[in-house]
Symmetry: C2
Subunit: 283 residues, 2 copies
């Protein structure tokens, strides 16, 4: 593994570049981005060694795609067109079904590995890139059997050296489950932020009263709309399903309060406290 | 300030005791709690010096009440009955209107200071007590004019020595605003936890896919139902109002997705990104 190409030098791509460089000091990191300022920043920050373009990809050992998922769907076939037999192309997108579908019949499908590293922060751009973002994080690999064995082996070894745990899943199940544990959290957080901001318009004092609890719950509302809009679009039916269940649960809680059934309100919360054990389990 | 009585030796009471002891090393901390195990733990952890009872309160310089808000409403008049002229009684409850109302006509109303320190974690009990929980936190004081000047002065100096910022607010405004920035966050988090747990019943893999974003958003769902049920009960109408607005915003977001209006979905998120500046403001 020598020539690593990062397509999209933001939080996800930039952090991956930092980890690769640390794991394989002899690697050369190339950055590709439609945003020239980001490329310059990435060079300045030592995230990439050189700027590059799609046409240079035949030189790549590994390509890491970390751009909005709609852009991945469009660009992935073109990337595969360019790469050589020895190149493994990995995408890090938060939806997997449509991405796998986009290259299902591509003659170089076996050069592609569909991945979703469960890692990130609410920030974006090269300046948001951090060391060890991927350490001890889960990387979900989809349709592993569709990737050439030698190429998956090469990529999986690198992920493992960086400190990632690997899980295998089919794209359909991935998209359904991730809607619950990631996409829905973002909407709940964005809408919480919206609800409070709307109120704040006339009552500016309100944020003096916000504590760490509010901050934690609303943290994801800082996330990038450019990244999240395509995710919601691409995973529309699953996200709408989770959102519908979430709204039903909120309505039910509200009706318990309206009916002064605070015993049931207590029970709702006590049952959900079970999340403690679950979260301990994921750490 | 010598004799400090903590009623409720959990997270809020215990952490206050630790800060007082550090700020006034000569103080003697007494603990009162209906839970004997918690009292024993509090002594073992060095949070309190002695166990005490309500009838001992005439000895107190300051009483800090940190029990569920419905228990405060019931107990506060009895506490005031016991205290001497020199005692300031402070409650730390998350609702203020009903608490102030409970002692409005009490002959010792001027011994009471209604407070709400915006501090806490999702944990509870004496073991959850931590040093410097209150440092740089806002303490909202309600109806300050109803408290004897010398007593408020004494309490406010202690809060300031501990590192708290003071804000003044009327109880009605407090309860309305806190519903947005605290109570609603808890419900949004509990219901998010519930929605995901319900799904998880049949699909145990799901939590392997949860990352730090989910964890942050669902953190408050670990909170104590014994503390939060009375808060929702006591602040029912404000909480229902915020919940209704939150549900409307979620439904609107869902309908934008259903109508494939992803430009509007983008705008919703971009507008709400403004929360970044607001959160920077509160730090």
């Amino acid at each position: 593994m020598k020539n690593i190409y990062i397509i999209g030098v933001g939080l996800i791509g930039g952090s991956f570049a930092l980890d690769v460089k640390k794991t394989i000091p002899s690697s050369v990191i190339y950055g590709i981005d439609t945003n020239e300022t980001h490329l310059d920043e990435a060079i300045e920050l030592g995230i990439i060694d050189h700027k590059a373009e799609i046409k240079d990809l035949n030189n790549a050992d590994l390509v890491w795609i970390a751009i909005p998922v709609d852009a991945t769907i469009e660009l992935l076939p073109k990337i595969l067109d360019e790469v050589s037999d020895k190149t493994v192309v990995v995408d890090a997108g938060s939806i997997k079904e449509d991405i796998c579908l986009a290259v299902k019949e591509h003659p170089k499908r076996r050069n592609f590995l569909a991945a979703h590293p469960i890692a990130g922060t609410e920030f974006s751009g090269p300046k948001a890139a951090i060391n060890e973002l991927y350490k001890n994080k889960t990387n979900i690999i989809c349709e592993v059997e569709e990737t050439a064995f030698k190429l998956q082996e090469k990529a999986l070894k690198l992920f493992s050296d960086i400190g990632m745990r690997i899980r295998y899943m089919n794209p359909k199940a991935h998209d359904k489950h991730i809607a619950y544990v990631s996409h829905l959290s973002h909407i709940s957080s964005f809408m919480l932020g919206k609800t409070v901001i709307e109120k704040e318009k006339n009552e500016r004092d309100i944020f003096d009263m916000a504590g760490s609890g509010f901050e934690s719950t609303v943290r994801l509302a800082k996330s990038s709309p450019a990244m999240w809009t395509p995710i919601f679009k691409q995973n529309k039916s699953n996200v709408i399903e989770t959102l519908e269940e979430y709204i039903q649960n909120l309505k039910h809680f509200k009706s318990l309060m309206e009916n002064d059934d605070f015993e049931a309100v207590f029970d709702e919360m006590e049952t959900t406290n079970h999340i403690k054990d679950i979260l301990n389990g994921i750490q």
